[in-house]
Symmetry: C2
Subunit: 226 residues, 2 copies
DNA sequence: TTTTTTGCAAAGAATTTGCAGCGCG
DNA sequence: CGCGCTGCAAATTCTTTGCAAAAAA
């Protein structure tokens, strides 16, 4: 029984590509880069190695923002900022004062291992994207009280909301039917919000779904857009 | 077109159960509780409602620790601490000083929306569990340099490591074949670590896998344990 | 009635695993 | 030449979706 870690070629390439990356790639995007150098490598290998390398301490695994894990080649203590819209992650350096190296000590009996500070916001690119579509934040849905819910706070939308119009326009520009991810890329909306709009648009007959999770604009939709 | 949020019975029960919860439940565990009151409710409904309620601002969605999302009934500004072993999440209150309401300003052009502080460590229960099994941290694998990797740092294990013994013992107590999750519950190891041990144990012929992801101890395994 | 919600089943994304064979040490 | 590692496919886990029926307003 040896149980010794080996430095294989794929391992080395993964490390190297991670080192070269300026951002904090996901396993998946790292896989894409590595595949250019090692076409036969499998995604599973990338996952396995990222996991192993981070256990061993050669790289850092970031568990940020509840989405895909991201990996960081830089082991030094630093914090991150991420974009709530596109989920890119950047480094920030803030001098952490002792004051929150340990909050107080009545920490519910936890044996504290560390602390992470994350800022979030909108990255430059998304800001630009949003400016382009001129409509950063659509009206949120109305709030609603647990018990009665007869609050009169209105929440009506016209027969073709701004969001719907945007999604519809995006679909009009698609040659073929496309998924909500494709739409997300050309609008300011998140995939989740898009699917709501699509549901509404389908009801109105402006959008059709030739296949699960694929949508296209109908003739009626084109007319409505005009 | 109304587009008004309705307070349905299931919505109300979900909110109520979340309010009663002392921890920060996952969608899944909340579903289990709600199901006791509304046996016909579906998991999809729970997910849908948690999403909607958090959009609307009645609850808070926590994106912590890269695992399942968790939900918080308490909307007030507070931070969290979570257990790196079992992933439970508790509240903490630290007075945040202005100093990191905005780190500096050269924040790479981000339009900053907020900041989150998370502590992590080992929760009291897991500490106890670890003490019981008397072996908090097994030897981590050896480190390994990118290029050469001929560092002699040893990392050998005997023919039946402590971990393997523990897993084997857990399997011995199982009446039927069981998955790694079941084993995780009665040992101090995480599922991921367990599967490594199982792989090793299978090679030695101490464990058999009658079905994918189901394991049981063999006669040889029982003998080895003794 | 009209619009929103639900339950269900099936799809989806991200990640992990079993396995047999390859290849490093 | 044995153990660790890889590729591949299939499985797992968590979450979302389409749709028709049911429930609110």
């Amino acid at each position: 029984m040896k149980n010794t870690l080996r430095m294989t070629h794929q391992r080395e390439v993964i490390l190297d590509e991670l080192g070269k990356a300026t951002s904090h790639p996901t396993a998946d995007s790292l896989y894409e880069r590595v595949k250019k150098r090692l076409p036969r490598i499998s995604l599973a290998t990338v996952y396995r190695n990222l996991e192993i390398l981070s256990e061993v301490g050669l790289i850092r695994k970031l568990e940020i923002s509840g989405r895909q894990k991201r990996f960081d080649w830089d082991l030094e203590q630093h914090d991150h900022i991420y974009c709530v819209q596109c989920y890119r992650v950047d480094n920030i350096e803030i001098k952490r004062d002792h004051k929150f190296s340990l909050p107080t000590e009545h920490e519910r009996g936890y044996e504290i291992k560390g602390c992470r500070v994350e800022f979030f916001g909108i990255c430059p690119q998304c800001q630009k994207k949003n400016a382009r579509s001129e409509k950063k934040k659509g009206a949120k849905k109305m709030a609603c009280k647990p018990k009665s819910c007869k609050s009169g706070g209105g929440c009506k939308t016209g027969s073709l909301s701004e969001r719907q119009r945007e999604v519809l326009a995006a679909l009009a520009n698609c040659k073929k039917s496309c998924g909500s991810k494709d739409i997300a890329e050309v609008t300011s909306l998140e995939p989740k919000q898009i699917s709501c709009q699509i549901t509404a648009l389908k009801k109105k007959g402006f959008v059709d779904s030739p296949e699960r999770c694929k949508y296209e604009i109908t003739q009626a939709g084109k007319k409505a857009l005009a």
